[in-house]
């Protein structure tokens, strides 16, 4: 690989990393709590509720949120 190609690759990787870091900083406030909350709830369900032998009976009187 020539020095020019190495330099181009370095520029590409640096740009990609910068974009990723900026995107993460911009979106983490929106995405992270949702994902964290979901994982917490899911783990609690799998580790505690599902092992307690509780039933899952389809409920009446609810609707899907639009």
């Amino acid at each position: 690989m020539t020095d020019t190609n190495k330099f181009k690759l370095l520029i590409f990787l640096t740009t990609a990393l910068t974009v990723l870091i900026i995107s993460f900083n911009l979106l983490q406030d929106y995405l992270m709590p949702e994902i964290e909350g979901y994982l917490e709830r899911r783990i609690y369900y799998e580790r505690v509720i599902s092992k307690k032998g509780l039933s899952l009976h389809r409920g009446e009187y609810w609707k899907k949120e639009e």
Partner: protein
């Protein structure tokens, strides 16, 4: 991640994300479908005198097969059963008792009624509803002790199978419901009106708590509302408060307060006003016309009944209630 769902069972109307559990602790959104976690899983199964519910005008001196699951739609700071009502179903010791088995056991133990009680039966709505439908087929009556915090549609559906309801009217101010219970008064009043309209026998319990809901003016207003909207035949149980749960710093209700409230209720036109959690002759039922003693009680024990065919044995006046 699944879709959000909105529960439409109680006026809280929780919006739940995937794997989120409602404020009642017993309803979960799993993959965009709402499930009950307590169907067939009661944490309390007890045979009680029906007077303990309290029902004073429903089959006196009989027993009630009483069941409850964990959970509640409210969070009253004075709750007498907070150990189970404020618990999650994964924290309580639960029985395996499907609806047909509840009815079979009620029949086996010679219970004339099944009562959905101790915690708030709205949270185990599907379990209660299915049990009530089977019980009706076997001529076992269905009764519930409820806070009345339920939406109209499920309540009307349930009313088809419910014979009697004892509703806790905890106070007559929105402020009390909001600060002390985490709910609202209006839906409870709506529930009372719906139950009356659907022909469900009604009794009302009002726990009088010093400094929080012992204002005689408000008690009078409440009694006037009952007479106007539900009629004078609805029995009212004025109960004495004892320090409990998050209100341990308050004293028990003074006897004079309960007596004054009873006088106010009778002045408002209510025919049957009882004092609860106090041994007195205000536990007895008297004929509203001839004033003779109809049912003598000591606590939950019935000593004598002078009602025959739903009428006073002495003067023949019809006494409102379910007597056979």
């Amino acid at each position: 991640m699944g879709k959000k769902v909105q529960c439409e069972l109680c006026p809280t109307e929780c919006v739940l994300e995937d794997f989120q559990i409602g404020g009642c602790s017993v309803r979960i959104n799993k993959g965009g479908v709402l499930y009950s976690l307590v169907y067939g899983k009661p944490c309390a199964v007890v045979i009680d005198p029906i007077e303990k519910k309290p029902f004073f005008h429903v089959l006196p001196a009989t027993t009630a097969f009483s069941i409850a699951t964990a959970g509640c739609v409210l969070g009253c700071k004075f709750c007498q059963n907070w150990q189970i009502s404020q618990a999650k179903p994964e924290e309580t010791d639960n029985h395996d008792l499907m609806p047909d088995e509840v009815v079979r056991q009620a029949l086996f133990y010679d219970c004339r009624t099944i009562t959905y009680t101790y915690t708030e039966p709205t949270v185990f709505y599907e379990y209660m509803y299915d049990t009530a439908r089977i019980a009706r087929r076997y001529n076992v009556k269905n009764t519930m002790h409820t806070c009345g915090y339920i939406k109209e549609k499920p309540l009307r559906e349930l009313s088809k199978y419910m014979d009697a309801a004892d509703v806790d009217l905890k106070a007559f101010t929105e402020d009390f419901y909001s600060r002390i219970c985490g709910g609202r008064l209006k839906p409870v009043l709506d529930t009372l009106a719906v139950l009356k309209g659907e022909g469900v026998w009604l009794e009302i319990t009002n726990l009088i708590i010093p400094t929080l809901n012992d204002d005689m003016k408000k008690i009078r207003e409440m009694c006037q509302w009952i007479v106007k909207n539900l009629g004078p035949d609805v029995p009212l149980h004025l109960s004495r408060f004892f320090p409990n749960y998050k209100l341990k710093d308050l004293p028990p209700t003074p006897l004079e307060t309960i007596r004054d409230a009873r006088i106010a209720a009778m002045d408002a036109g209510l025919k049957y006003v009882y004092m609860g959690n106090i041994r007195s002759d205000a536990e007895n039922t008297y004929c509203p016309k001839c004033r003779n003693l109809l049912i003598e009680r000591i606590g939950f024990f019935v000593k004598q009944i002078n009602i025959a065919g739903g009428r006073c044995k002495f003067c023949g006046t019809a006494i409102a209630g379910i007597w056979s």
